[in-house]
Subunit: 183 residues, 2 copies
DNA sequence: TTTCGTTGAGACATTGTTGTCTCATATGGT
DNA sequence: ACCATATGAGACAACAATGTCTCAACGAAA
């Protein structure tokens, strides 16, 4: 009987990932429930988005945990991270765009936690001599988000094969486009 | 007397870059004109966005021309391109996001022209042996857009210094984050 | 000064979305 | 079988944004 809140959030995420302006009615129908029921479980659109925000943050944090960023080389850790975060890429992309709308309002502190962890990872990579030090950890973090979003859309629109998602992101982020003499 | 259409578009671009959901009223006030006047010159919000789309496409095409992508090394050409497109980065970011809302609808063919030119540039770079061939031109094009958007937002939010805009994008796109043995 | 065209301000109807409510129905537990 | 609870469908008001219209004021050119 009781509604599967998780499943509703999943389908909402899937829909809003494709069409970020979907109405509550569309979200409800996509979840196979009535609009009234959707409103009973999420006080309003804001509450729904906040719930999705928490879901997304939770997923990315789980990905960060699963990637075990401290083990082995930073490069391998980055590969594990991108692979682990791939299922959440669309949702992450939606949330990043959504967050750009909040002008000065208070943002979910979860984003700060994520930024701090990713940023710290890049900094450690720099300290270990694996990453360049002329690109700031903050920028590398932004770039990672940007590439994940771009790749998610490119895959969705069929411009990039979904199986290449991880490879394209990691290779570009690590090695760049330049054909260079490497180890 | 006659309204400066160009100046209105500029201020609309500046505002919508920061707040993509700004209303017609906000756009009008930002331009220092009345809402009625705004409506007299742009039939509606769609028309305004289309006009901004044309402006953005025109600016990026001008940047592509100015960058003279066929002259010298592909790497230097990319540096020129990013430098030339920097003033349009915010507008470009807004338009890219806006375009993601159009589900299957017909997109402005100008985007196809831009994509084709940028994509062809990366392909030539590959053929000249300057760029890796395991990253498709389509992906490199997407990645360039994504990094430009990310950088534009990062600068706007003060996470990246505006003077580092070009350097951050070009260095990451060309060389990646890995500290490698290079020429 | 007169005239013509443009503007700003505001009123107005329209539209789409949201949020609330009611009521009949269905489901699950007892 | 009974009851409590949750649901779906629909009605409803509230609200925000859009698009249209009118009218008075303004400025430039004759």
């Amino acid at each position: 009987m009781s509604l599967d809140r998780e499943q509703v959030l999943r389908s909402a995420a899937a829909l809003l990932t494709r069409k970020s302006t979907a109405t509550m009615d569309e979200v409800a129908r996509a979840a196979g429930i009535g609009r009234a029921t959707l409103h009973r479980h999420f006080a309003g659109r804001d509450a729904l988005v906040r719930a999705l925000e928490n879901l997304g943050i939770q997923e990315v944090e789980a990905a960060l945990d699963a990637a075990a960023l401290d083990e082995g080389s930073a490069q391998d850790a980055l590969r594990r991270l991108v692979a682990a975060v791939e299922p959440s890429a669309g949702l992450l992309s939606f949330l990043v765009t959504e967050n750009q709308l909040f002008e000065g309002e208070e943002v979910n502190e979860g984003w700060n936690r994520l930024d701090a962890r990713v940023s710290a990872f890049f900094r450690r990579g720099q300290e270990r001599g694996e990453f360049r030090i002329d690109l700031t950890p903050a920028w590398l973090t932004e770039a990672l988000y940007g590439l994940i979003s771009s790749a998610a859309w490119a895959v969705q629109d069929g411009r990039v094969a979904s199986q290449d998602f991880k490879y394209m992101i990691v290779e570009l982020l690590l090695g760049g486009a330049r054909r260079s003499v490497e180890q």
